[in-house]
Subunit: 205 residues, 2 copies
């Protein structure tokens, strides 16, 4: 979040700091769609004036940029961590999948917003470009793991990486942290299915 | 599509029949969101008057009902087919996954619309109820396959079925029939990853 303005709130100004403003904005964006949401809607939803919002951010676009950065930064930190590991690509890949599930759980509304971005504005197109960059890192890892003989050679690495991250990303559709399983158990289940499949090994066909 | 009106178009009325009206409406719903689309928007998008639309359907809701039925009917036909098979639950499940990928490919815009339904109207809530019914059929198959010893016992059947169908459903985010791989190859790749995992068996850990 290097680019967030972190000015302390002015004395006497009640209500939101940037962090809670962002949390509420992302919630509204996810409910109504980013495009369908106006600064007017946000101001009503937050119960504060538009100028109180503009005190923190220059535009709706900036809210979006900060929100998707929260998701993307988490995913790229996970990728950096995986990339810095010693050893086989398959283990890096599994680490990346596991960490990505944690990012998704910890930053669920932000990742949800990121995954729904369509590309109608510059900020959205930049987010899509960073997503493609991330996808590229993943498919490179799959390719490398296949070259090392650890990934099945009968599925194209680009397709395999889309399927595995499709599985991870589909969590936003049903996973809810409250009352649901914990992040560790969820990440474990995702890795089991993605890497070893649903089928019991003994009966593998 | 038992409930679609199949009146032949009136003589002299140019333009859309119900089928092509539905195809265009679903495209517009997917682009703008169902709620954000008015009959006015559809009329402009189609280049026909609202009364020409009302000749075919009573309301925007009816368009949605017909569209999501197209997706749901396909999925339930696949489930019926799987249910009618002789043999082990794991094979029924694999058949269902494979056929569902075909439904998704053949009816991509309809399935995309179905998967984005939120539940704000009666038609949407009915669609969600049928989706839950489908999910229940899937998790029952997983449960049965686990009881037969064919599914790994260390992932909860409800979670496993969500993950496997999350993988299937995530195809709407990236798969495009034109220029992409064929439906058979896609279904094969999905089944390989979902049932046997990305990892090469020999190195299974």
């Amino acid at each position: 979040m290097a680019t967030a303005r972190v000015n302390p709130p002015r004395r006497g100004r009640p209500g939101y700091d940037l962090e809670s403003l962002l949390a509420v904005a992302v919630k509204v964006f996810n409910e109504r769609g980013y495009e369908a949401t106006s600064m007017e809607d946000l101001s009503r939803g937050l119960g504060i004036t538009k100028s109180a919002i503009y005190y923190h951010v220059a535009s709706k676009d900036e809210l979006l940029r900060l929100a998707v950065a929260r998701a993307l930064d988490g995913l790229f930190e996970a990728a950096d961590e995986a990339g810095a590991m010693e050893g086989r690509a398959i283990d890096k890949l599994e680490h990346l999948v596991r960490r990505s599930v944690h990012v998704l759980v910890d930053r669920l509304p932000f990742v949800t917003l990121l995954l729904r971005v369509r590309g109608n504005t510059k900020v959205e197109r930049q987010a899509l470009a960073r997503r493609r960059e991330f996808d590229h890192l993943v498919s490179e890892l799959v390719r490398q793991a296949e070259a090392e003989g650890d990934v099945r050679p009968d599925v194209d690495p680009a397709v395999a990486s889309r399927l595995v991250f499709g599985l991870v990303n589909s969590l936003i559709e049903w996973y809810r942290p409250r009352g649901g399983m914990g992040a560790d158990a969820l990440a474990e289940a995702v890795c089991k299915i993605a890497f070893d499949g649903l089928r019991q090994d003994a009966t593998g066909t």
